[in-house]
Symmetry: C2
Subunit: 153 residues, 2 copies
Amino acid sequence: MSSSNQATRQVHERAVESLREQGYRLTPQRLLILSVVAESGGHMGVDQVFRLAKEAYPYMDIATVYRTLHLLKKLNVVTEVAIGDRLHYELTDPEGRHHHMVCQICSGAFNLSPHYLEQFRHTLMQEFNFEPDLEHFTITGVCSTCQGQPAKG
Amino acid sequence: MSSSNQATRQVHERAVESLREQGYRLTPQRLLILSVVAESGGHMGVDQVFRLAKEAYPYMDIATVYRTLHLLKKLNVVTEVAIGDRLHYELTDPEGRHHHMVCQICSGAFNLSPHYLEQFRHTLMQEFNFEPDLEHFTITGVCSTCQGQPAKG
DNA sequence: TTAGCGGTTGCAAGGAGTCGCAATAACTGG
DNA sequence: CCAGTTATTGCGACTCCTTGCAACCGCTAA
């Protein structure tokens, strides 16, 4: 009865609702992949999700993991985060959208409120009549802890 | 003696200089790939570069195209632009860096001066002490011509 | 509870991009 | 101009991700 279990249950309920509402089927594979991501607490690479899901259900296929992750993303249940050149997935922040700042040195990810992008969006629309899609948006750079350290690679 | 030929020649000279300065060798493959990009006038996908280069030199390998494009990018001779989920390459703008706005509907690409990102960069550094890497930066969205049209896909 | 429609899965094949390696060839010093 | 050094190429194998397809199974209606 930990708060983590409770959060996980809520996530499941909301996801199940989204799936049924839109006519998608509730398959064990989808629920399993969802619970793997939900229980991780943070963002996970596709291969991590695959490995953990396969432990629970050995027939799990990597294609199903990709398809399910894409679906959950479309339903706004999970959020896609680009870390390095790999996509990661995490539960969508119920507090509202946020963006990420990812450190090129330590790979740490930090949340960034959409607030900081609002002005930028506003400018683009004013000046260029260009409606930017800033939903899934990651800024790479060097975090405060790593500043002064040499870049890796 | 068109201005395009002249521009191309200048690009070659500068690229050759960069290569020699840093101890890289001047190979026919590198010069060919460079001239293909230089003569295109805009941004090119890797496969387009490969096809054109292979017409001129049938032994050209796709791996060489990738390696050369990455090298020219490192030398700041070409600039990498993310269009959709594919990387494109163009000659680095001698007028200074610019970013791109790419329309999700018509795939048109528009230049964006770094000026518009400066304030955003400043905010991130002030508030989070996070030094963002905004060198190669593309914003997707819907351009003014396509607004009101249905999104593709 | 059951039949059957059609969305999903697992598999295998395919495309994009990367990497290791042996052969090649661009540069250097003599 | 030539031989040696070593960066670079072309190739094949490999990884990551996507796609086509036949078998499967979740869901609905009777």
